[in-house]
């Protein structure tokens, strides 16, 4: 993406120095000229220790830390990722994201130009998601004690769903939907990180999913459970829900949307796309009676045109996810024991 914003002359330094976290003039200038300018809103402008919010009704709150290498990848960067990740956790509570806070751990020596790009991307993502960044913090750690930038974010949202989605509301017979192809984010980052010689237009799916939640609620769908399949991918999320709902889940592998670029890269690495992270997808559990309406509403929402029904909740095998192979037989789709590791041959 071409960045058309003008560089902001917020520092005499080219790189982050310890003084940027030291509490003095250098730090204040960074905060005022970079962070407050980018995230501009009345709460930040007040430059107080925190923000006082006037938000009636039920609130959803979440917190999440973000580390990613490389900091920039096709389809996003750590800044936009921090917004999308936080926003999507709120969406999974049935809430419309409204506010967030962000804490930046910066590594001494990080180019300030890099930080500017991250912060401006984050501000753009927040604007698109309708979220205000109302409070923040910056700390600097010595060179070698960080990986450029770490971001920790807290999000607040207003609960819109009449009954907030939760694994405890999942019932046998519920349809399992996914809002788009899985594994794009993990594979896009992997290709970039390993500088793999794969010609690919693949981009991360990183995106905020509030429009999908709103589309489902507007269509009158009873959203029983929502989860964003980030670390550990679709397979891990389904396992978590099967366990906490004490229900079985039966998934048809042939129905799970996977882009051919993702499938091919996984083939090469010995990965299973069902365990690869997404950052802009939701897994939705809805009553069978609402399933077709839910799919229609999702497919009309930009970004989830390829939403699909992938399985069903069962009374059998509670706590276990079974995956039906395209050839017919089923197998257990388990949690991974650790991270996926590229294989030998």
């Amino acid at each position: 993406m071409t960045d058309l914003a003008c560089p902001v002359p917020f520092s005499d330094y080219e790189r982050v120095v310890l003084a940027h976290g030291g509490g003095g003039r250098v730090m204040h200038r960074l905060i005022e000229e970079l962070f407050v300018t980018a995230f501009d809103n009345p709460h930040l402008r007040a430059q107080h220790d925190g923000a006082v919010l006037d938000t009636p009704g039920r609130l959803a709150v979440t917190t999440d830390g973000f580390t990613v290498r490389p900091l920039f990848f096709p389809g996003g960067d750590i800044g936009s990722l921090a917004v999308h990740g936080t926003v999507n956790d709120l969406v999974c509570c049935g809430a419309r994201p409204e506010h967030m806070t962000a804490s930046f751990i910066l590594e001494e020596g990080l180019a300030l130009e890099t930080l500017r790009r991250v912060v401006e991307s984050m501000a753009r993502a927040a604007r698109e998601a309708g979220v205000r960044v109302v409070a923040g913090d910056t700390k600097v750690v010595e060179k070698g004690k960080g990986d450029g930038v770490f971001i920790t974010a807290t999000g607040l949202g207003r609960v819109l769903a009449p009954e907030p989605p939760s694994p405890s509301r999942v019932r046998p017979g519920d349809a399992v939907l996914v809002t788009g192809p899985v594994g794009d984010h993990g594979v896009a980052v992997m290709i970039e990180r390993e500088a793999m010689a794969i010609e690919s237009d693949l981009a991360s799916d990183s995106a905020g999913c509030a429009p999908q939640l709103l589309a489902l609620l507007d269509a009158g769908v009873d959203v029983r459970c929502l989860r964003d399949p980030t670390r550990g991918g679709l397979a891990s999320v389904l396992n978590e829900i099967a366990r906490s709902a004490r229900a079985g889940i039966h998934v048809r592998e042939a129905d799970v949307p996977v882009r051919s670029e993702v499938a091919d890269a996984c083939e090469l690495l010995g990965f299973d796309p069902l365990y690869v992270a997404c950052e802009g997808r939701l897994v939705a559990f809805v009553p069978e009676a609402d399933a077709e309406r839910a799919l229609g509403a999702l497919r009309r929402t930009p970004g989830s045109e390829d939403a699909a029904r992938i399985g069903v909740v069962t009374e059998d095998h509670p706590g276990t996810v079974l995956l039906e192979s395209p050839l017919g037989p089923s197998r257990v789709l388990d949690l991974l024991s650790g991270e996926q590791l590229p294989r030998i041959c």
């Binding site: 390993e194 793999m196 042939a254 051919s260 499938a263 091919d264 083939e267 690495l269 010995g270 095998h317 276990t320 079974l322 192979s325 395209p326 050839l327 017919g328 037989p329 089923s330 197998r331 257990v332 388990d334 024991s337 650790g338 590791l341 590229p342 294989r343 030998i344 041959c345």
Partner: protein, 370 residues
Amino acid sequence: MRWVDEFRDAGTARRLAGALARSATRPWTVMEICGGQTNTIARYGLEDLLPEGMRLIHGPGCPVCVTPLEIIEAARVLAQEPGVVLCSFGDMLRVPGAGGDLLDARSRGADVRVVLSPLDAVQMAANDRGRHHVLFGVGFETTAPATAMAAELARRLDLDNFSLLASHVRVPPAIELLLSEPEHEIDGFLAAGHVCTVEGLADYPALCARFGVPIVVTGFEPVDILHGLLMCVRQLEAGRHEVENQYTRSVRSDGNPEARALVDRVFEVADVPWRGLGVVPRGGLRIRPAWARFDALRRFDPSLPEVTEPVACKAGLVLQGRLVPTDCPEFGRACTPEHPLGAPMVSTEGACAAYYRHRRHAAFDERADR
């Protein structure tokens, strides 16, 4: 349509399974040699599609599984040498050695890096001459050419900070060893397609003739495996025992002579230990004396602790095809992918891990029935 789709097609698979059922008049037992094939069999549930009584035995073709414990220990010890970067394929990182695995060594400060290609390790050494880079090169005939190419490239770049911890093994001598076992139950073999892509078919006719078993060189997709099994069963039913090539889209009968010549320049055939099988005569490769400067064991001569396999681990029997993973008393109890007792529980190509990940419900159903 993607390049693999036709080899995963449900209709083709069902037709092949039907033909297999019609062809088999006896309960044949076939060993697939390669762990990649084992993984496909478990992942797609192919055993559920076989005729009643037909049995698959999973062979020792898992590079992670057969790499001797001594070599795993050597990798761990070398990784802890000051100034050494150990470059390894990803799935070697979790194999338990006597004093922990490589991930554990990394968490204690060792510089262990995952490479996707052996040439990446040479590149890393060229870019960072201040540290010594050891490439942990393991695998079958399939990966040996890439390891040899890494050594050649290092020599061409005149790198003094690059060496190999090599443990490459050869499949045909292992087949010979398994068939020499008087009590073996194997009627026929599926040989590993990718090994033969390099080696060709020359090693196999003598084995077929000497032991009276058909050997079908087979690919790795579900349709390949069912097709390979059908070809094998048809031979068995007709009383034939020949080499046949199912994987014609990759395997030529003379293999890849350039790749073999490359391996031959750097390595020589030797008697080597396979974890679980013991010493296999002519069963592996060792670095030729002319390449000693690239031999990590000769350069560092690490002092290695005595290593012994965990007593409870039956990996040896599993690797010889004499024990189904789920029949091991420790399977899913003391031995899981989180706490593997033996290497076959680690790699995606290990029979125990394949059963744990894909077939556990079947095993537990059976246990519950008993």
